[in-house]
């Protein structure tokens, strides 16, 4: 009896390891291939002699990209959008979520519904587009000519993240808040000194979600930013890919790298920041999903 149990367990364990390894390799392979392809020589990339490890190593694709001003422009723009966009969203979300977490807030249900409804129904792309165009006109009229501010201020703000924060704030014991108020803390101090330190991990998670969606933002940035020099990295990558057959973008025959390598190098540069911070934050988001996934 005991013997049979062990065998079935062992078989299951082996199957788990094998299939998970296969899946993990599938997940990772495109990234490894991209890195290898960005530093492999021309013939290796063009004629598919590359499987995993780079051959005929060259770094000219990278240096060609680094010498391109458009690339640095795009990178700076993405950093700008991510930095200010995240600050803006986190700031507003924390304030709003704090107010929503208070039982004494009047019309609390109404305000919650106001947020949640946007998760159920959105007006759609075209009405949003017309709305952004109108906003852009207003922004230009008051002297904000840089469309990046439009993207920072008007876009983003996911209701889901605010609800995550609100749920976490609701979990802070009211005794601690009362103690702070007895000690003479103002509303702002209660939020700053009591609520924020007690919800560190959820705030880290939400900040991360906001920052990643800002870093990865593409569609509206492309629609709304009319000046090509203001485009973020994702728009730049896409435009390069769309001009793939454009002779100007191809690498000359004398060059040691394939034109593909330039695009691969571009992709590598765009994912490096995420890869660098990813291991540090990975432990936070599992928690975030568990806390906010289901509200009872």
């Amino acid at each position: 009896m005991k013997r049979r149990l062990e065998i079935s367990e062992l078989i299951f364990k082996i199957i788990s390891y094998v299939l998970l390894t296969v899946f993990a390799i599938c997940c990772l392979y495109p990234f490894l291939y991209t890195i290898s392809a960005s530093i492999s020589g021309r013939e290796v990339v063009d004629y598919n002699r590359l499987v995993l490890f780079p051959k005929d190593i060259q770094f000219d694709a990278f240096s060609r990209m680094f010498n391109n001003n458009m690339f640095w422009n795009a990178y700076t723009n993405t950093l700008f959008l991510t930095f200010y966009g995240t600050i803006w969203e986190v700031f507003l979300s924390i304030l709003g979520a704090y107010a929503l977490s208070k039982k004494r807030l009047l019309f609390r249900k109404g305000f919650n519904f106001f947020l949640v409804f946007t998760m159920w129904f959105s007006a759609g792309l075209v009405p949003q587009y017309l709305n952004y165009i109108a906003t852009k006109k207003v922004f230009n009229a008051v002297g904000i000519m840089d469309d990046k501010w439009l993207v920072v201020i008007a876009m983003g703000m996911a209701a889901m993240n605010i609800i995550l924060l609100r749920n976490s704030f609701e979990g802070v014991p009211s005794e601690i808040e009362e103690a702070a108020i007895v000690d003479g803390a103002t509303e702002m101090q209660v939020l700053w000194r009591v609520y924020l330190p007690m919800s560190k991990s959820i705030i880290a998670t939400v900040t991360l979600f906001f920052a990643i969606s800002r870093w990865n933002g593409y569609f509206w940035a492309r629609q709304m930013i009319s000046n090509g020099n203001e485009h973020p990295l994702m728009v730049y990558i896409r435009l390069r890919l769309e001009q793939y057959t454009d002779p100007e973008q191809m690498s000359a025959w004398s060059e040691p790298y394939s034109s593909d390598s330039v695009i691969y190098a571009l992709i590598v540069c765009s994912i490096v920041p995420i890869l660098v911070i990813y291991p540090f934050i990975q432990k936070y988001f599992a928690k975030g999903v568990n806390v906010g996934g289901v509200k009872e």
Binding site: S8, L95, L105, F114, V126, E187, I263, E296
Partner: protein, 351 residues
């Protein structure tokens, strides 16, 4: 407001104790919502309400104001005049889309069908994957090994749609005189899954019959690992004593799966399934927009991309809004319906 304890508690002769007076609670509620008292409460707590204002303003200006533009669905739009100055044309756009006879009607129905099919296939193939992966994660006892697998499989979720679609397009690109096809196309040709003609000359991205497969496989690659978090959390919450009890009763691994693990995570599965069904009509426009091209409209065009093509790239804003509004209204009804069912079935509501 004069408070008197006797207003709140009344003597209940039946039980012989004081109970709460329900009438007073109602009176209190009316009192609380009298506009003067509301104003007083707001002024007293003005800091709290001030905190709420910026967030509400953002939602009002850029989430709710676009809904006003939906009036364009019922008006003759020429995109030069603001919506307020255009005159009503009734339901003509809806009629054109649903029951017309031109290409717009056929394209709309094609897009609607594709929207449904893309998410339906996602439900069939994409939904079970995270559950299976979570079951496998549970088998790995070493914490370090499990973390390694988790870090790797969650990773694609954090890549942007642009990076992901660019990679897909590079990996299955067609060949040319000066360069070979993408590495995955090459692999598929080598194992005989596709002919050289299709993969090299035409390119898989330009062949409509491959679009759905590419969409689903890249979708699984992107989200299966990350989506397993919810299920894995449910599995590790199972008490070890349940396994022990099953083992004593002589249950093998498969029997343990069937009688211990699956029943314990069933409520999570049901909730996730219902959410998924609720969002059957919300196909992300960005991914389709980045992956499709004129050659693959037949299988790839969804309602939101249809709307983008005619309303943003084109000038038929009224018609395009009407198309997407129909889709979104049905989508919203599905979400609300799914949420109601979830609440009834498991006492757990999603929002």
């Amino acid at each position: 407001m004069q408070m008197n304890v006797s207003d709140y508690l009344i003597f209940d002769a039946e039980s012989g104790t004081y109970i709460e007076n329900p009438e007073q609670a109602v009176r209190d509620d009316v009192e609380k919502h009298h506009w003067l008292n509301v104003l007083r409460a707001v002024i007293k707590d003005w800091r709290l309400y001030l905190m709420l204002v910026p967030m509400l303003a953002v939602f009002l200006l850029w989430r709710y104001l676009p809904m006003y533009e939906l009036l364009g669905c019922f008006k003759v739009t020429d995109s030069v005049k603001p919506v307020a100055e255009q005159y009503y044309s009734g339901f003509s756009y809806f009629r054109t889309l649903i029951a017309g006879s031109g290409t717009l009607t056929t394209e709309f129905w094609r897009a609607f069908r594709n929207t449904f099919l893309l998410s339906f296939y996602g439900l069939c193939f994409g939904f079970p994957m995270p559950i299976i992966i979570a079951l496998f994660f549970n088998e790995i006892r070493s914490n370090i090994m499990r973390s390694v697998y988790q870090v790797i499989t969650y990773l694609p979720k954090f890549m942007s749609t642009v990076v992901m679609t660019s990679l897909v397009m590079m990996l299955v690109k067609q060949g040319s005189l000066t360069s070979g096809m993408g590495i995955i196309s090459q692999f598929l040709v080598n194992i005989g899954a596709v002919t050289e003609d299709v993969a090299f000359k035409q390119g898989l991205m330009n062949n409509p019959s491959f679009f759905r497969a590419i969409y689903q496989i890249s979708g699984i690659w992107e989200t299966a690992g990350y989506d397993s978090i919810v299920f894995f959390a449910a599995i590790i919450a199972i008490s070890p004593t349940s396994y022990e009890a099953a083992q004593i009763d002589g249950a093998g691994k498969l029997a343990q799966m069937k009688y211990v693990v699956l029943p314990s995570i069933l409520s999570t599965i049901v909730i996730m399934l219902i959410t998924r069904i609720g969002s059957l009509l919300n196909v992300g426009y960005e991914k389709v927009l980045l992956l499709y091209n004129t050659n693959t409209y037949v299988t790839a065009d969804v309602v939101s991309t249809f709307s983008q093509r005619y309303g943003i790239s084109g000038t038929m804003t009224g018609l395009a809004s009407a198309a997407e509004m129909m889709n979104n209204v049905i989508g919203m009804l599905l979400v609300i319906g799914a949420n109601t069912i979830a609440r009834k079935a498991s006492d757990v509501s999603l929002y």
